[in-house]
Symmetry: C2
Subunit: 362 residues, 2 copies
């Protein structure tokens, strides 16, 4: 590529690569700059597509964007499979939200009521219905609900698929670190650098540490449960994501720290909650314990849109716990903005200028 | 080395290498055969030198050998440091044996009474004395005792030190696997192959799986406790071995299995017991979870001496949980037997012929 690119993207995680794929498919000349594609938060992420179970009090606009993006996922996954030739492990088995103790169940119910009030699809189950759906749950689990529309994908399959699709569409990957936006020479620069966006843009993006385990069913078969399980267990909030490969992802801590050490206490809490909810997990192999850094923002919502005071620079970062589910809508909105110059109304609550003229919001 | 060696040793773990060092130091021509020196049980071992805390009911003769070998350790470590130029982390801070609950304490006390009855140095402490010695212990620990003569060494420093000492004394390491004793051409062959001895000799040596964790104090300082801690915690029996480097070894399961997978349930049990006994361990990094295979025998005692029906073949294996503490006495007894032809009376309870003419004792 000898001519100046139309779009230069900083960051080859799912968001950056999806934007590259979509833009290149629209005929734009695209470069993607990252010394280690897929090595950020997505490497650790579980890949839950959870607009319902992740709908929390006071995050109404984020909940809407999660639902919009989750609705785009089936088509996105199908398009991506066709464009890349790879399967990203999209599974629509749904999610069970369960409470171990009476206290845990009370906490879960408070959230279900809120989610039902928003009209979101979550249905409480009688204990017998819960066990009919997942006999692997511990008998002492007090109750639960099903969110049939909360699905999953495998982030470690997503990144190479997106990369293949982007490169087949003509995007060029440049495996080098970008130290400053002044290094970029393109009509539009997109900062999709996760936690790295803070230094490049001075936006209030901060690392939020998450520790995650990967177990594997003995004998290399699939796990004995099919649903994603989100559990409240003696005050711990965890998730269990089963994959066809036999892998079960157990996560995750949420810590205001910037290191990536795995700590004994976090592993203990995750394993204790996991085994309390699904006892057979005690017999699974523990194959990986890792920590990653999510790009968090002051309001827990992503930052998508033009960077104030920097013409030609767009931002797509701060996806925090929602990077995988928000990948399709982020890519679509950014690509449309680049192609048409007109921001979609969906973007309005998420643009960088919400943090005011004082860009250091921390 | 073009001439036929005097001694060919199968296995370059601590026992094999110590025999090599001692024999070479006596002027014998020695070869040691192992494709991966130090990769067996010693790689996972914690390195406790515990003749007292490991004195169990019904193992009187083994207890005597443990005490004899532990008494040889200070001199052995000093000789080895001089011969190798390396420090093996010998520490004489002593061992605390503690019980978390009243039930745990009752179980521990039963064993202390037995050990005291044998005249072994173990002294019960009042709870205040216990906490004075190790303030890091959890307040809920019900009681304990001190075994001042139970020390520690670092097996991962021991193996390279022994290898250096053996090679400096003239021993030659051959990094190849020995498939059968008929491959060996030496005046004396010594089988020190751990679990591998079963196939080579048909002696009743079986793998006993142990899962072990390695934690590291945050900030890279030394752990806040100095003693080896052996704890009974809600029915779990574990040990915590602090090292100057900041490492704390937490072990170990005892499983009649031959795989080396790390399981979620074992890690959970080890971490729970560790954090219950020493709460600050929750903040330590979890840097390694591994499983190894100890060479177990029907009576839990090692097998040392001439292999029946095979002139010129000696055996030094089956050290089970005691390979590190028994290294000095094993090396001394085998070397003396090779040099003098006369078995030390200490060997009598441990010779291979105790399993009878029918060598398949399993």
């Amino acid at each position: 590529m000898l001519t100046r690119p139309d779009v230069a993207i900083v960051g080859a995680g799912p968001v950056g690569l999806a934007i590259a794929w979509r833009c290149a498919s629209r005929g734009l000349r695209v470069t993607v700059h990252d010394p280690a594609p897929g090595s950020g938060a997505s490497h650790v992420a579980a890949g839950m597509l959870s607009p319902v179970a992740e709908a929390y009090f006071g995050e109404h606009e984020l909940t809407g964007l999660l639902a919009e993006s989750a609705a785009r996922w089936p088509r996105f996954a199908a398009d991506l499979a066709e464009a890349s030739g790879a399967d990203v492990g999209y599974r629509a088995d749904g999610t069970l939200v369960v409470g171990l103790t009476a206290d845990d169940l009370a906490e879960a119910r408070r959230l279900w009521s809120y989610q039902q009030g928003l009209g979101l699809p979550i249905t409480p189950l009688r204990p017998s219905e819960l066990r009919d759906r997942e006999p692997a749950l511990a008998p002492r689990v007090r109750g639960g609900a099903v969110a049939p529309g909360d699905h999953q994908v495998d982030p470690r399959r997503l990144v190479p698929a997106l990369r293949a699709a982007a490169e087949r569409a003509g995007a060029v990957l440049r495996p080098a670190r970008v130290g400053a936006l002044s290094e970029m020479d393109a009509r539009v620069t997109v900062v999709a650098a996760g936690c790295g966006a803070a230094d490049l843009t001075e936006l209030p993006v901060r690392p939020v540490k998450g520790q995650v385990l990967r177990l594997r069913a003995p004998g290399r078969g699939a796990p004995d449960f099919r649903h994603v399980i989100r559990g409240y267990a003696d005050g711990e909030s965890i998730y269990l994501v089963p994959r066809d490969s036999g892998e079960v992802v157990v996560g995750a801590t949420v810590e205001e720290r910037a290191d990536t050490e795995v700590t004994a206490g976090a592993v203990l809490r995750l394993l204790r909650a996991a085994v309390d909810l699904v006892p057979e997990l005690a017999e699974y192999d523990l194959v990986e314990a890792t920590a990653g850094l999510r790009p968090g923002t002051p309001d827990n919502a992503p930052i998508i849109g033009p960077l104030p005071g920097r013409p030609g620079v767009l931002v797509a970062t701060g996806h925090h716990r929602h990077g995988i589910v928000l990948t399709p809508v982020t890519a679509d909105l950014v690509t449309d903005l680049i192609v048409t110059g007109e921001p979609d109304p969906l973007l309005a609550p998420f643009t960088p200028d919400r943090f005011g003229k004082e860009s250091r919001w921390n």
